[in-house]
């Protein structure tokens, strides 16, 4: 599955992987804001952003085609609107629409492909995203594939016994829900058994290092440079 590939990528050991997640998240947001506010006519800027992303991807030792393929998932949606924009006469804007959505996707992918989930959720938490939301994100991710796989197996078992139908699907969702709820009970028991007293103990953030600051400055300089000059 898609997110398992990203999971694998995120455990690499390049210099980019070792950067503090907060620096990477800040770099991502800067890039996205700069990209989003770029005028559609500045096509040279878009090309420069793409080059910036390609350089970053190769520094992270990530497959560029793999990343591009995943970022391209957004294209059917943006292509539709891009075409509409083209027909209404604004071809620059149409192109910009497609480019912005694609490059944004690539940039977000670079973050998650160089940072395990616990890393970027810790970064979010250090920026005061509510702890409960962070924990729910981690739990959803933890059980995502487990339950999806379970649903897949149930579907196959059901299809072996006849054609798919609306009622069958509803019944499947019902049983999946029941098993999920029971799974949650099991998890809660396991938590209690290991001394859980009602609060998850928070992690202690590590201070940013010099190489992180350097990385972030380089990204800021690159993005703003492209935006202003091109």
């Amino acid at each position: 599955m898609h997110h398992l590939v990203i999971d694998r990528w995120s455990r690499g050991s390049s210099s980019l992987h070792q950067r503090d997640p907060r620096a990477k998240l800040a770099a991502l947001l800067t890039f996205l804001i700069v990209l989003s506010t770029t005028r559609p006519a500045a096509q040279a800027a878009f090309a420069a952003y793409a080059v910036l992303l390609i350089i970053t991807a190769s520094r992270a030792r990530l497959p560029i085609l793999g990343l591009a393929g995943r970022a391209a998932l957004v294209l059917p949606f943006s292509a539709t609107f891009a075409l509409l924009t083209w027909w209404s006469g604004d071809s620059m804007r149409a192109l910009a629409l497609a480019e912005k959505s694609f490059l944004s996707g690539m940039a977000a992918l670079l973050l998650v492909a160089t940072t395990p989930l616990t890393g970027w959720t810790a970064a979010l938490e250090s920026w005061h995203v509510p702890r409960m939301l962070i924990l729910v994100i981690q739990f959803v991710y933890r059980y995502l594939f487990v339950i999806a796989e379970q649903a897949q197996r149930m579907r196959w078992a059901a299809l072996c016994r006849g054609r798919g139908s609306f009622g069958l699907a509803a019944g499947l969702v019902g049983v999946l829900f029941a098993r999920s709820w029971q799974r949650a009970d099991g998890i809660y028991h396991a938590m209690l058994a290991r001394g859980f007293r009602g609060r998850f103990v928070p992690a202690v953030p590590v201070p940013l290092g010099a190489s992180d600051a350097l990385f972030l400055s380089a990204c800021l300089a690159g993005c703003l440079g492209i935006r202003i000059l091109l």
């Binding site: 395990p116 487990v146 099991g186 028991h189």
Partner: protein
């Protein structure tokens, strides 16, 4: 005889790890799951729990750390099980659940094993150090940053055991530890378990595991204990083998 948890005089002898008298438990729908269980476990001893599915074995072990609360007296290492002593008892009784997927709920192996020590009040640094030590003990030191999803069934079981060992328990409760494991993995797990000094309560259908790991066995039948004795003798008496 139903004892009162607050009895001043301890019902058990001093070196009994577990002492249970007259345990009764009813499910919310009214079924009597446990109908007067008397059970004891000495320090360092290993006991197997046999019985058909639904006979009450798992329900019984869930009482040992207070996840379920029934009527009757339970003492763990001389401590009566009450609301006030729950925390202490949960640090003495480590339960390895049947479903490792539900037991390893943190995003990474290291965080999961550190969960218990953190709850016990250790500092984050100490908790992580202890987690690493325990993971080395179970042979999973290489997997510290891995996500539990990516582990095999045997690896998950090892990490689950590590998570429990990290609490430094005196008693280990293992609920069907070898389900879904292939023979080589079962052998490795058995070697690991034999090397652990804690007293053990092992719920299992696996007579081989029981014979290799435990000396005594208790046979559950419909919420009651139908037999107790030497593990080989009990297996024979109740025909508890696969063939």
């Amino acid at each position: 005889m139903s004892g009162h948890p607050h009895t001043a005089v301890s019902l058990s002898s001093l070196n009994q790890a577990i002492h249970v008298r007259g345990l009764r438990y009813q499910y919310p729908d009214g079924t009597q799951a446990l109908n007067g269980i008397d059970f004891h476990l000495d320090a360092g001893e290993s006991v197997a729990l046999f019985g058909a599915n639904g006979s009450g074995k798992t329900t019984f072990v869930l009482h040992l750390n207070g996840l379920l609360r029934g009527e009757g007296a339970i003492e763990i290492c001389g401590l009566p099980l009450t609301d006030a002593t729950l925390e202490q008892i949960r640090s003495k009784v480590g339960v390895v659940f049947q479903d490792s997927e539900e037991q390893l709920f943190m995003p990474t192996v290291l965080e999961d094993v550190a969960f218990g020590p953190l709850n016990l009040g250790l500092s984050p640094d100490d908790a992580l150090t202890r987690a690493r030590t325990v993971l080395k003990r179970v042979g999973m030191a290489h997997a510290v940053e891995r996500a539990p999803y990516h582990l095999s069934a045997g690896e998950k079981k090892r990490v689950a055991i590590a998570g429990v060992l990290a609490m430094d328990p005196e008693i280990l409760v293992l609920d069907e530890p070898t389900t879904f494991l292939d023979p080589p993995t079962r052998r490795d797990l058995l070697t690991l378990l034999r090397g652990l000094p804690q007293a053990k309560v092992v719920v299992t259908h696996d007579a081989n595991l029981a014979r290799a790991l435990t000396t005594r066995a208790v046979f559950f039948d419909q919420g009651r204990i139908a037999g107790e004795g030497d593990v080989i003798e009990i297996v024979q008496r109740f025909h508890w083998e696969y063939s």
